[in-house]
Amino acid sequence: MHPIPRLASLLLALVPAAAGASLQVVTTTDGLAALARDVGGDRVAVTALSHGNQDPHFVDPNPNLAVKLRDADLLVDVGLDLEIGWLPPLVNQSRNAGIQPGNERRFTAASAIRVLDVPTGPVDRSLGDLHPAGNPHFLDDPRRAVEVAQAMAAKLASLDPAGAAGYRARAADFARRIGADEQRWLAALKPFRGQAIIAKHPTVTYLARWAGLRIVGYLEPKPGVEPPPSHLAEMVEVARAQKVRAILVETYYDTRTAALVAKLSGARVASIPGDVGASRTATGYQAYMDEVVKALAGALAP
């Protein structure tokens, strides 16, 4: 290649990919990125710092992510300390004053929803690696996803008043579409309402509450704590006694302990996508929930 075209292509590579969009939105997870795309349409260019096949508790604070934050017009995080282990140093490195906690270019999704599992008594790490502000795994409840989308639309409207009507219209459309999907999803899960399930980690509290399922145990004796054999034996007994058909494990977790308990108790392992982007087909929020519901129904079926 001639040196001049080569230089030109190098310079082009330095130009942000979606230069035509009004707002550069950076989200901490793929799920939030999907909502931002639904609500923002072509007025936003969305980048996620982590991907759906990653455990969002343990993302590496790779400094190249701070470069993405440097150029962000809006940072959307889950909150409730989900990203406490990796997001703060990146925000500090970004030099972007607006995205500091509490500043105008920061939207914390948890602020839009009613939070479950908020501890009401004494809390310390003898209880495991729990989230002292409440359970941050709320996007697998479609009602809460709609609430987050609507609050995100309001935030985008405040930052980009020229697009305000469009953000509100797209959020309303998202709410309508998800509302219709929700009826379909709940109908698919209706035969299993009231059934007992076991989960790996308290990641499915909101999902279970929404779907009418009872969580009767966790493979982890406490959040983030490796189960000793005695606890797994107890879970096998619980699964048998409560007629548990499904053991729910997100795709970013190892399924070996779940498979062992399932084998000994006669239950099935329901491998559910951890977030949008956890599989090649879960490309948007709707497709993600389709897969969650399909995996649940498949494992719970007699």
């Binding site: 400094p63 140093p89 004053a97 409440g134 983030g224």
Partner: protein, 361 residues
Amino acid sequence: MRYVVLAGLLAAGAAAAQEPQAAAAPLGGNPFARVLMLPDVSAIGSGALVWNQKDVRVVSPRSDPYGPGGKVQPVFQELEVALQSVVDPYARADVFLTFHPDGAGVEEAYLTTLGLPAGLQIRAGTLKSPFGRLNQQHPHVWDFVGTPLPMARLLAVDALEGPGVDVAWLAPVPWFLELHLAYQDTVPGFETAGRRTGVAHLLQYFDVAEGTTLGVGLSAARLDEPGAGAWRDLYGADLFLKIRPPQGRAYLTLQGELFARRLSGLADPAQDGTRLGGYLQALWRQDAYWGYGARWESAPAAGPGLSGAENRWTALATWYPSEFQRLRLQVSDDRLPGGSTGWEALLAMEFIIGAHGAHPF
């Protein structure tokens, strides 16, 4: 306890937001509000059982934990107390107090700007010099126990650090390229007097493939030496490669640093000259609970009558019962110039309590 109160307040806030009519405003406001203003407080403790075949204090001076030759020695390494918070909308402050067998002190205490224009960020206070990789990290972040010999011998016993200012510029390019220029008062090598020090550090990170990140850095520092026209120049090159498949907790890191120290213009010309050293290490984190590593270090020998390179090989096994403690077994073979070998073993424990800020990559 802070989180208990905080969680209660958040819960009360959430309930009030949902039911604005039903929830009566609390009489007299929030009596716990000042708790919300406390900085994050944490403590990190570390100690070890050590065994050294040789009398390390004489033949291989260092800052690692060590014991008398041939005996198992319990060692208290350090208690670090951290206070971290934003100061105001424009800056944050990080204070790290250290308590160790020789006393107590301020390990670091600095202000960091949050929103300067043009990619600039300034840290001011007493801080570790932006030189290389390990020098800027606190020991509880290191994979291995103890300061690598070349760092202790060529830079400073614990770390090149001291009061001063560090200006860092994040270049406007699509990858992480940061240039640091610092001016500090530091105490080099095994010495006691502070020296005026200028430091430059260029650091870059590249995403070379999905889940594979490469970091490369170059460092240089100039310290004044006693006597007109006398200088101590330090040079460093650091490399860090992390391979971590996105799914799961396992990863592999390769890390190495080269150090060079050049003394010039000293009153005793025999002391002039350049000394080299470095280390290379690998760590395999098998899962959330286990990690294994190997390290090679080479540094100028410092024992009496010794000249040439001292080489140390180390094997490491780490057990992480949780995110908040680890137990490390480290076995080393320290080879002094002339072929003399000394075996060393460490069983080190470390814990962390409280809310400790996450560390950079």
